[in-house]
């Protein structure tokens, strides 16, 4: 004869099992009709959760609670047994070595040489980074183009405008890896707002200033231009660079100014690189001096 508590448990468990079946059917039906994420989630998840609920009711109301007791026997064994095990190890080791210590040293050396040899294939898993980090395709005279390859017309850029530019001949779907390094933020500011160091005075004709778009902190694109304070800001960690005085860091974790690209302006309004990038682009690393 089952108790009222058990009968109540049976009813609840049966109710949850029914729910589970309904959810399974809903899932299968939705799937057969072409699928719908929310219905699939509710169907599949609901079927499993309802099954779980049925088992919880089952374990609480229908299985008699029982407590068992395990013994924590000491893990450690008597010293004799430990000594016997250690003794076996030592005796066996002695048989390997014997009086041939020189041979053991030789074997260790051989394994060491193998280890060194194994470094070569490991090295081959990645190209050598030395000296190639932070280089760009920018050279004196290359014209500025947009992502789609179109040339940038100086007269179309008002003060306050920003455009991401690349060197001509280095854009396109097959050049994405190069474009990642070459991206430059071209900004036009008021000429009298510029406070460039003397050796860079000629890099900013008519207020056109260009900086590498790759943050010197962790390599994110420095994509945000704040027109008021005339700063470039990296959205990843908020490193902020002053556009008017050579890209110096004014806030955030970056430790190095943004590399600057000298801008040259032809008589016919074509924008070009006036020289190479002022330094390596992107984050510093151990490889950089």
């Amino acid at each position: 004869m089952s108790s009222p508590r058990e009968r109540r448990g049976e009813r609840w468990a049966a109710a949850w099992l029914t729910t589970s079946v309904a959810c399974s059917v809903a899932f299968a039906t939705s799937f057969a009709l072409g699928g719908q994420p929310q219905v699939e989630g509710i169907g599949l998840g609901g079927a499993l959760l309802a099954l779980a609920a049925a088992l919880i009711v089952w374990s609480r109301a229908l299985i008699p609670p029982r407590q068992v007791e395990d013994e924590h026997l000491p893990l450690a064994h008597p010293a004799v047994q430990r000594a016997a095990a250690a003794g076996l190890l030592i005796e066996g080791g002695a048989e390997i070595v014997g009086r041939r210590a020189w041979l053991v040293r030789f074997a260790c050396a051989a394994a060491g040489v193998l280890g060194v040899a194994a470094l070569f294939p490991l090295r081959g898993l990645g190209p050598n980074p030395n000296g190639r980090l932070g280089e760009t395709s920018w050279k004196r005279g290359l014209r500025f183009v947009r992502e789609d390859g179109s040339f940038v017309d100086a007269s179309a850029l008002e003060v306050g405008s920003v455009v991401t530019v690349f060197p001509e001949g280095a854009v396109g779907p097959d050049k994405v890896v190069d474009m990642a390094n070459d991206a430059v933020m071209l900004v036009r500011v008021q000429e009298d707002a510029l406070r460039m160091p003397p050796d860079r005075a000629s890099w900013t004709p008519r207020g056109f200033v260009a900086y590498s778009k790759i943050c010197t902190h962790a390599g994110c694109p420095v994509a945000l231009y704040r027109e008021g304070p005339q700063q470039l800001m990296c959205p990843c960690h908020q490193s902020t660079f002053d556009v008017t005085d050579g890209g110096t860091v004014v806030f955030g974790p970056a430790a190095r100014a943004l590399p600057q690209l000298p801008v040259a302006l032809d008589a016919d309004g074509v924008l070009r690189a006036g020289g190479a990038m002022s330094g390596f682009i992107g984050p510093e690393s151990w490889e950089h001096a």
């Binding site: 893990l75 898993l125 990645g126 980074p129 778009k213 694109p221 908020q238």
Partner: protein, 459 residues
Amino acid sequence: MIRALVTWMDERLGGAPFLRNALKKAFPDHWSFMLGEVAMYCFIFIIASGTYLTFFFHPSDARVVYNGTAIPSLRGRTMSDAYASVLKLSFETQAGLVIRQAHHWCANVFAAAIVTHMSRIYFTGAFRKPREINWVIGLTLLLLVIGDGFTGYSLPGDALSGAGLKIAQSIALSIPVIGGWVAFLAFGGNVPSAETTNRLFAIHILFIPLLLGALIAAHLAVLWRQKHTQFPGENRRENNVVGSPLWPNYTVRSVALMLATFGLLLLLGGLVEINPVWLYGPYDPWTVSSPAQPDWYVGWLDGSLRLGPRLALRVGGHTITALFWAGAALPGCIFALIYAWPWIERRLQPDEREHELLDVPWANPLRTATGVAVLTFVALLLFAGSDDVQARLTHISVQQITWAYRIAVWVLPPLAFALAWRVCRELQARHAYEEDHPPRVVLVRTDEGGYDEEPVPVP
């Protein structure tokens, strides 16, 4: 049938006594002992759902032009084959979106289950002798899950994860001496490169899951050998463990937990959007989405980078960069501290005994206060990881918020330490007082609304 099966097995493996003991094994009934099980079931779920996803995902950085119909705004865009295949498996594969989102949710729940499980282990002193091995294995599992989560959400080739990959590679490059090799090995060259997604895929679905599987097996084997700890209580001693038998009581409960975990993850996968890569757009290295926040288990590292010092050192023709301190050195120190804690605590509070009975958290103020301080520190880093969102919501400048966090990460953890210490001491004093002064009477409310005194019932 069952008898025949047991006989067959026993005649070949001699496993009948083992089976008998296993079925009677005691599992303590406290709910907190199930947190680790949630993590284990997450592992099963993440392998199963991930296997499904591998049928449809293309780990390739080849550039393709999107011609699917699901996201009209992206038609004609050039993107990686990986990103295009994620769009396809999300919108043109049946149940694909549900499984992908459930898989991603599972990574978040998995890491959360490990952290809460480890907190239980830590604050109750379950890591003490003889359980240091499982403490070390468990923390390694957390590291691997963080790594697998990161490599996983970096696979789709979307604008958000692309920036994350670049940051991770920059951190690897910042490590002294070996950084360059580590970075180029893990990412198959500079980031972005044509090999990156393929390399990450191998790490994500093969290398780390194999390690996870092996270490979880070791974790369970050690647990089985050492048996469970238990909270102090009636009939609980250092040399026993009291609980429900594995069969039938605990098995039913644990299977219910497994089904509930799976069900919850699928419900989340169907109803709660996570990582909508079609909104971020494909990754072009010169674009980035803003705001940009990683999953929570990586978010504290991102916060650390945001607060990091602007300090680069030149060492004999090389550079120790600003990124190194916040991105590698600090998390390295935090994990080293957690790895070493069982030995640190034993040095500070000499104790060579084995412990099968757990401490209540206030029983050891030094341990509890240290744990609270470390959790406070990491939580502040996690919050700092979304300082730009907080700036947008509160209209306070992100510079001011960043400075507030820079101060808070050094001021609040010591305060949390002091507060936790004080609370532990107060609780200790209260319990000592109650033991010395057992109640003499019990107040009972009468039917008329008054109160009567009755003697304390003898237990």
